[in-house]
Symmetry: C2
Subunit: 355 residues, 2 copies
DNA sequence: TTGAAAGCGGTACCAC
DNA sequence: GTGGTACCGCTTTCAA
């Protein structure tokens, strides 16, 4: 049934009216007498008519969709990101098209192709070159998500540098640790780049020698395992490892325990994100909480505003705050009430200890 | 520059030809003299003309896109799935729109909406009801991915039951384990349902009492931790835990070691998928390898075939084979050559031990 | 209140 | 070879 889709013309014929009236009824626009409206509605429902998207879009010169571009998806971060973005887009009756470039060489072409199918684009920082971003911004509304774009392209991101510096100072000053290593590739994404900067900044602030080069690996759990293998087999082991995100931190944790090291006694590990697993591992992970959902929702909202012209195309850059979450993996005391669930308490300023 | 997009008509005017010729040149169809082709191409490149997608699609009555629908994305499984699907779709110059229903109540409406924007739909098993699937199949080509659809809807899936039965028999017969528990929600997805069936089947085959009800949790790592908490705090602990996938198995591993249990000495754990982490944890995870990328690529290919009419709409159901991968977490011997990387060897038939 | 008709941007058939 | 033109399906003036 209803195989060859019906057109507005056919409904018009069936209801004995013109296409214009069908359009009016189906969109609830214009003035239609109660009686004809009823007649048209009956025909519409009877035959399950739905306006063809392409026709509508062509007439409106609007796709009714926006694109979300990032390198690949795996792990809780992207899951949250997408949910946050979609939850906001749905309010504007806009559908979301997701594009994972997988960091392929020809990804630029794919993005350009997508740009022709949507009304706006949100691009994760580090996915595209500044030149490509500027080219895109010349074609349609673009917002950078989690990173800074070239000048003139609005962006939404989270605070990375200060919070990572605070976290690092906690290890250096409060726990008197030396020989910290950073795991993550600063040139891979703006987020990691800023976290690396914060890591170095903390050393500088405390007048300590600058740390050695980072272990440049990706952001997934296996990458953390590889990093741990590299760092912990050396003759001089680090006392602490500051990871670019929770997933690699969990990987480092796995690698460390595989080598028989105890955390935090033999080695301190920290992450960034505060993913669900962070509170569930043993020891629970000291990390920085970032509002991923909110980040994505704000991006979507800003993109819609730019697309509708409510906001200037070279609009603002929003920065969302983050919180340090101190748990056990940095060496802080175990919970005083054993058996309680380790949810972790956030410390907006200074430090508060998680149970 | 190039802000208000150019139309074929403007290019035609600029090149002093008709729109028909512009169309011919830009598509490489029909006969055009070398000289006019050159003139038109020059105008096209000079002004960066690109045919408007909506106009093209409307004329061709074809969206040039297919949809991929699943409940949510997190973890390596979905990442692989998407990559496999896209890698195949790109061959047909078809773009992929991803829809995560997040298992929301109104997800049906979203899917129907998407159905109006694409030429075909691939739906992960367990995401939609059979009624919705049949309704969709009446509107456009639909293929079920990782599960069986209602009759008449083609599907591509992997072998779950036999391999899980073989895995379970390995624990019951070779390792002489009793008191096994299953972690995963059989009503959540066809995959899990079949794995649960294989788990029970193994008990039946060996004449053992049937196992108790499964621990019905989701498929992510935190779910495994929760399941471990439930199972391992009981007075009578299971000797082994068979998990619906690797991610929950890793969660169970985390939960077990958090409670001070040694794997595999005190407790045996197995997974399903053979994700990258499975070989990297300590102990390495005994699991079943499934060809996720291949699964998705086959689905995409089948969908294209159905869409182009090359294959009947109620086409075939493909079942891809899986391999048992025996590692350390089931209690099998540690590698004889210490220091070697634990990649795991597959055993297509019978069992082979991983180093 | 309703209908005819002119687009929206391309494609493709049919003449010339 | 090339141009005129009638679509694709829908929206939106403009008249009646």
């Amino acid at each position: 049934m209803g195989n060859g889709r019906l057109t507005a013309r056919e409904i018009a014929r069936l209801a004995g009216v013109s296409v214009a009236t069908v359009s009016r009824v189906s969109n609830g626009t214009g003035q239609v007498s109660e009686e004809t409206r009823r007649r048209v509605l009956r025909a519409i429902e009877e035959h399950g008519y739905r306006p063809h998207h392409l026709g509508q879009a062509l007439a409106a010169r609007r796709h009714g969709a926006v694109g979300l571009v990032f390198p690949g998806l795996s792990g809780p971060y992207f899951s949250e990101l997408i949910q946050g973005f979609e939850s906001e887009a749905v309010n504007s009756r806009t559908s979301v098209h997701i594009l994972c470039t997988h960091l392929r060489a020809d990804s630029d072409a794919e993005v350009i192709e997508m740009a022709h199918r949507v009304d706006g684009l949100a691009v994760l920082g580090g996915t595209l070159s500044d030149e490509t971003l500027e080219e895109l911004a010349g074609m349609l509304p673009v917002v950078v998500l989690a990173g800074g774009g070239p000048p003139g392209v609005p962006a939404v991101r989270v605070e990375n540098t200060d919070s990572t510096a605070a976290l690092t100072r906690h290890l250096l000053a409060d726990h008197a640790l030396r020989r910290l290593d950073f795991v993550g590739n600063p040139s891979g994404s703006p987020d990691v780049s800023e976290r690396w900067a914060g890591f170095r900044e903390a050393h500088r602030q405390l007048g300590l020698p600058l740390p050695r080069a980072p272990i440049r690996v990706g952001l997934q759990q296996p990458d953390g395992v590889f990093a741990a293998e590299q760092l912990l087999r050396r003759s001089i082991r680090p006392q602490g490892i500051v990871c670019a995100n929770d997933e690699t931190a969990l990987g480092v944790l796995v690698g460390a325990s595989g080598l028989g090291l105890r955390v935090p006694e033999d080695l301190v590990i920290t992450g960034f994100d505060d993913t669900p697993m962070a509170a569930l591992v043993t020891p629970a992970l000291t990390t920085v909480r970032q509002p991923v959902r909110e980040l994505a929702a704000q991006t979507a909202r800003l993109l819609m505003q730019v697309a509708t012209g409510d906001v200037d195309r070279s609009g603002p850059t929003l920065v969302l705050p983050t919180d340090l979450v101190v748990r056990r993996s940095c060496g802080c005391a175990a919970p005083t009430t054993p058996g309680s669930t380790p949810t972790g308490r956030r410390a907006e300023t200074g430090l508060r200890h998680s149970r």
